[in-house]
Amino acid sequence: MCGIVGLYLKGTRLRPELGRLFTPMLVEMTDRGPDSAGFAIYHEPAERGFIKITAFHPDPAFEWEALCDHIRVEFNATVRDTHNGSHAVITSDAEPAGTVALIEGFESRLQIMSSGELIEIYKETGLPQDVADQFGLSGMQGSHVVGHTRMATESAVTTAGSHPFSTGLDLCLVHNGSLSNHNGIREHLRTHKGMHFKTENDTEVAAAYISDRLSDGRSLHGALEDCLEDLDGFYTFVAGTKDGFAVLRDPIACKPAVLAETDDYVAFASEYRAFVDLPNIAHAKVWEPEPETVYSWGEQA
């Protein structure tokens, strides 16, 4: 199925090294997820009034500049972009929902990975080490990052099917496990909430479900608790938020989850061996989250 890793820095001292510390964690989970990998990194805040949108296009010759011009014209907006492999981060002061719709409608193979002030989601098929190298993960800095290595269970191995899935501004979800009632939930969200789905993936449904709960006014904490009521199956979820992350295990809790905490960081992984190169890990508090309990770090969760 999958490996999940997450690293949240408590202070600012280690921020320049976030990517360097995190890359070995992701790669250590290759056995659990050799098909594809992805990560949501929180860094380089957009200036006030601006939003960053991370988008993916499979064609290396895709004309990102033409897309940016289109946004400028449509919204009379200021737009910049940076490129990273098959992804681009488009920063603009245009209205977010409209911009997302415009980008998705611009070209059929364009996919939005994330939007928000801080978040950037990068994901690709291939071994975790190759994905990390492709995007220069080990050189990235930031405050926190959530990552995932995928062994596809019931849907195809594609970029879109990889995790993390974006659930809203500065929000993301990764999942280890297998849901059993996601088809019904997808149908409901599609028919009655107007949501669109790009894959057959159960995690995409969970992400959409959480998004829907949030847009109904629930906090992330509340939305995750709602998962316990409405989602069936096996899951360890890690949700990334603007300034932290949250963890939830289903009531049966067969899928693994380990946390490690020091004065400098809180780390999450599917297996302890992902932690071994973290600073001061020998003295970290290491524990496993209880089932049916939402754990969160950072203010906004």
């Binding site: 049966i252 809790a253 067969c254 693994p256 380990v258 297996e271 302890y272 061996r273 992902a274 932690f275 071994v276 290491v286 524990w287 496993e288 209880e290 089932p291």
Partner: protein, 233 residues
């Protein structure tokens, strides 16, 4: 590498396979000797399949299935143990100084597993005759379908303790969040106090008082299917 006489195995210097080959080299010989394993770093299946009265100290945290199917050896993990520590153990002793992840001692047939810290969910699941002593707490579904052997918990037990229990005897000192199907509180008689005393002493808990424990066992109502019990399924 002189496998027969090596005493320190460093997983920074050797692969898991090389380490296990060295640890298993004495299998069937009856030879007893001490060995240390350094830098386990969460490796899986470390020291599994042993069959000799070795005395092994592992310095650090292990991954899944450490000391799986152990026979005769005494293995001490100076750290935490991942999922399935001592699974299907046949004999010998496994000591976890830290915490154990889920399914600790799963389907063990014999031997003794001692966890100084907490054990997670499904401790002693499907136990077939081994003994487990947990000095901290155990998680939910512990002793699920446990068939034989003894489990002692000095701390608390999570929900659904002993669900579908067969003949394993469970002793808990702390609180039990909830009992599973067919698991009930039972009377502590002299033979149980004696058995508990022996287990506590073997686990190094000589000062602990047996009268603080409650015994749990199977109500034996689910041994043969009766329609009245259908709600238990």
């Amino acid at each position: 590498m002189d496998i027969q006489n090596i005493t320190v195995l460093d997983l920074e210097e050797m692969s898991l396979r090389e380490a296990n080959v060295a640890l298993q080299a004495d299998n069937g010989s009856g030879r007893s000797r001490p060995l240390r394993v350094l830098n386990p770093k969460g490796a899986h299946a470390l020291a599994c399949g042993l069959d000799a009265p070795l005395d092994i100290e592992i310095e650090g945290h292990t991954g899944y299935f450490c000391a799986g199917m152990n026979k005769q050896a005494r293995v001490t993990i100076n750290g935490n143990a991942g999922q399935g520590v001592a699974e299907n153990m046949m004999s010998g002793e496994i000591w976890v100084k830290g915490d154990a992840s889920q399914s600790a001692g799963a389907t063990a047939n014999g031997g003794l597993l001692v966890i100084e810290g907490n054990a997670s969910a499904r401790c002693g699941i499907s136990l077939k005759g081994g003994d487990i002593v947990v000095k901290g707490n155990v998680g939910h579904m512990s002793c699920f379908m446990a068939q034989a052997g003894r489990v002692v918990v000095l701390g608390d037990a999570g929900n659904a303790l002993g669900d579908s229990l067969y003949e394993t005897r469970i002793y808990v000192r702390g609180k039990v969040a909830g009992l599973g199907a067919d698991c009930i509180e039972k009377e502590m008689r002299d033979e149980h106090r004696d058995e508990l005393r022996e287990l506590l002493d073997r686990a190094g808990c000589n000062g602990v008082d047996v009268s603080e424990f409650t015994r749990y066992g199977s109500a034996r109502q689910l041994y043969n299917f009766k329609i009245e019990n259908v709600s238990a399924y």
